[in-house]
Symmetry: D2
Subunit: 348 residues, 4 copies
């Protein structure tokens, strides 16, 4: 059985997911593509020898008979429309982050999905599929460190491009932490505070870099988050959970150990694309497999909505200096599926 | 394009490679199976929903029209016959180790292949596809540590089953080192000496456990090898290369870092099957892809022959206590393909 | 030349400093002792074969002709009186923490010392003499990580005794961080906020354990402090400084690396007394040497006052939940000596 | 009580031990000095304000009334004579390595000491006093890894000076391993083999660098030793003991952990003098304390003799390529004191 996928948006990430589904993963065929740049959609179809129709627009692609499931990898501002249309068409949809550019948009998706009565939407938060985070979660869930009490984390990039705006350190960068920590702790946020350390002189004047994000969860866990997008030394994702009887930390990425030049060292990554490259494969394979089984295992529309609400609160907290409450409507029972457990089986 | 594979031997490793080709990898279809236990072959065919003929014997399978390539995962003593038959049929063949149970058998395969005029045989030395060994080799090849001078290594198992014989620590266990170090150093062995440390009281009386293997290569590198198959504490593969300006070591397998019970610790593996699980996937995918392109990238029949000769020398050295010369005929130019480089592209 | 020291308080820490000066360090002789328990003072004098007069009270000891310098290791509530008396007598005084039980008491000492016109007081903050903190400071001062921006730290104890009160996690435990970070960063505090994570169920109900302390310094550095005095797993002091171009962390205490029982591990300390045992030796030797040269290198009365003010602010912040300003009078030029540099020479 | 020490040889190491006894350690006074360069002896006496007579020669110094104990830090070739004279005078003597420049010379000392009937000689093998080696030995002695089976070690120097000869890698460098491993394992050597890896092109043509030394002990432990005196990257002393149930390794020297320039790194030492600097202090303090108590705890004349015999065997093995037997006379019961246990108390 093959999942026939239509891809909306054939830019960098869309093209990469097409490559994955075509050359790496099992069980999917890309049967339809579209892009605002139609020529580029055709070019990608040619590049991967797709037996795929090239559609004029996403809505037509979604409605196409031969499309079983939709992948939304277009410009962020268009996500909401395409996800809503997929729900309207009753088709499973994998939407790269953000689910929508506003929390309200996410909420509309949640409501549409709930009205439809079946989970169709998976959001592209790939960290949940990273082997390191998986082992971290398994360790926490095993109870060996007792209840989690504190989570220390850092998201550090070597540097950011010129177009990187002040808000992006939250909505593009820390958003991954906002999602993965909810999942890791099986918890929800109740407040956030943001403080600004001394600005790095190597970071743009318009950026608040680094930033510290202090969060509280419903279970009382405190999260100490550091965002530093011009740290210069490497792409470094840290996560450490302090429990009642022990502490567990995310593994460092694999590297050889060197003894050279008066240093005992391990290489750190510098390119973010290398960090979660395997997670993308696992994520999409899991989506294909689950979708073929009629299930939805991954980060849901509710998760996308939750991350969006938390991100908005982070921005408000950063601008006001206040401790900002994070208020979510109660999670509908509809979303109480045991997504984490079933997804766990994607990895041995 | 799909590589139609016939599998001879549907025991543990055969069944696992069938699972891989069917459920994980791209580009292959298992179209024929056989086993000395015909019922088991049928059962595996059913388990994976194979559209596969079940053959009475390996030779028929090899000759079958629909079989493009052969996988030999039967009992070791039968490998030579099936590999030779595959060569005779002009079909690519992936043979799990050993290539043959004697060096003479391996030599017959090498000669048959050379006579045929095209490399058809890949031997299942999966470590060359392990990401850790890959990075180790890339680091050495980069020149950053200068010429390799010494290689320290250890192969340690928690324990071994009752049927494990005295010779198996060489021909089943250290054989992986015998292959991977030739590749890692791009070198050949010229001598070996084996010494017996004090025997572990937790190891069987009939085993020489641990053992030390001291080898010399054509380029003058000295290898200090430790084999310890009842080390009790974990499955632990170590490899460290001392060069003129630095030292590089194989990465430890990924694990979370724990602070608990007065220890700062990382889990070690205990089951050997977990150590190279990903390497098997990469190995077979690479074999499928290369075979479809009409190439042969992996460990060759010559490599299998070289490992067999070295293993024989290890056994002789162990029994005599002497420094035993390792004499190989000169490598035929036929085998001078740059296999390592092209295989390197299987991993990003 | 020998520094003739009078020791006030021969309890655990007093006795240990007497042992140090008598059996380990050079240049000092304990010539006078006193304790509220006179018999115990005599017993310690006997134990170490001191040629020492046993005084009725601290004030007499301070005034004694043969006493060149005073060591105050009595009950905390008595420190202020003895330090003031030492200043009045114009004698150098080493006072174990706290300098005084209130910030006001510390301030009286600072004023008395300033009025006397010469620094006489050293406070027993031994971490400044720990080799790990020394290398950490040297690394920061070298400029290799650029300006410090964030400091992450943790102070974790296995457990605390029954008499340990809620305030002690600040005034007895975190007080060491409050001192050492000022020195490490060459900076002063401007605000503090304290938040309470979920309480560990293994910690007493009356304790807020763990606690998080968020501080800001005059230079804009943000400090993320964790206090966890029932962490169960070990005595663990962490300090990591994030700079503009790199991050430097306090070394782990030395331990052998073990491979055993499926773990690659290093032992963690469990007894706090083992952590800074060497620092105490270096601290006191440095005090003896500096005092004999007529200098004062170590943590000053001003440093003791600063720590006390910061501790008071921490308590207020913990109780109010507010961000509490830390207001110190401007540091008198009198205290602008380059204490850190000269003390650095105590260690090679 | 003060140990009045006469020092023969006031060159680099002699001067440093004088500094130690005068400025760092307790219980000793340097009361006599001599050197072939009399002016230098006087200058060192002045530099440290010694109340010391300057003698014309070592023999006069040894016989001097005021000298309780002798320290021999002169040129190696003179050690035997001075140690024998000290024994003749019935005075404790601390002799820097080598005890004598030949094994026969060491044997004469052993015989003289045995004839005298009391251990007087300590040889300056300071590694036994290194905290890392101490913890390593304690771990082995605790039984936690079972019986030792294999010992892997390396002695690596950044580079060596021009005057460094081919033999020095054994008699000056590896000699420390030859001593410390006997102590660590509480064992004796029975054979040695030396093999030459490919020579580093960065090492002098006249040196066999690196070298591998394979030894066997009376208990059957096999030692894999690497000597590499031009390793370029650092001064690196490695020791790993493989036991029946686990493996324990010498700690790395303390250093801060850095994240910078795409590396997670710890500094390695480059200057050998920094590696055992603390061990020298502990060693001499222990010698002073034990001597004052009338005991002898440290490496004995027998240990010095054993190391010399082993070193001779290493040289013979290097030159012949043979496995060379190491034959020692049986250890006289005279030398069966439990030196290691009592010395262990010198730390903590
Ligand atoms: Mg994603
Ligand atoms: Mg294999
Ligand atoms: Mg103190
Ligand atoms: Mg020495």
């Amino acid at each position: 059985m093959t999942l026939r996928v239509g891809v909306i948006g054939t830019g960098a990430i869309g093209r990469d997911h097409i490559r994955r589904m075509t050359q790496v993963l099992k069980g999917a065929a890309v049967v339809a593509v579209t892009d605002v740049n139609a020529a580029q959609a055709q070019q990608v179809a040619n590049e991967f020898n797709l037996q795929a129709a090239v559609y004029d627009n996403g809505l037509d692609l979604i409605r196409a008979q031969e499309v079983d499931a939709v992948m939304v990898t277009s410009w962020g501002a268009t996500h909401e429309e395409f996800v809503l249309a997929s729900i309207a068409a009753g088709k499973p949809v994998f939407c790269e982050k953000p689910l929508a550019v506003t929390a309200e948009g996410c909420k509309r998706i949640v409501e549409a999905e709930a009205a439809f009565g079946k989970m169709l939407v998976q959001v592209g938060y790939m960290r949940r599929y990273d082997r390191g985070y998986r082992v971290l979660k398994e360790t926490i869930d095993s109870g060996v460190i007792g209840h989690p009490l504190i989570l220390h984390c850092a998201h550090r990039n070597v540097s950011v491009p010129d177009f990187y705006t002040r808000d992006m350190s939250v909505v593009d960068t820390f958003i991954h932490e906002l999602d993965v920590h909810r999942w890791l702790l099986d918890d929800d946020y109740v407040s956030v505070q943001v403080v600004r350390p001394r600005r790095s002189s190597l970071s743009g004047e318009h950026l608040n870099d680094p930033l510290l994000v202090y969060m509280e969860t419903a279970k009382g866990v405190r999260i100490n988050g550091e965002i530093f997008v011009n740290c210069k030394y490497g792409y470094d994702i840290q996560c450490q959970v302090v429990g009642e009887t022990g502490i567990v930390s995310l593994p460092e990425p694999m590297s050889v150990t060197m003894r050279s030049e008066a240093k005992l060292s391990n290489a750190l990554l510098t390119d973010w694309k290398d960090r979660f490259i395997e997670a993308y494969d696992i994520e999409l394979q899991d989506w294909i497999d689950a979708t073929l089984r009629g299930e939805m295992n991954g980060p849901s529309a509710w998760d996308g909505y939750s991350a969006a609400v938390a991100a908005d609160a982070c921005l408000a907290a950063r601008d006001s200096g206040d401790i900002v409450r994070i208020d979510m409507p109660e999670r509908p029972s509809f979303y109480r599926s045991k997504h984490s457990e079933s997804a766990a089986e994607a990895i041995r």
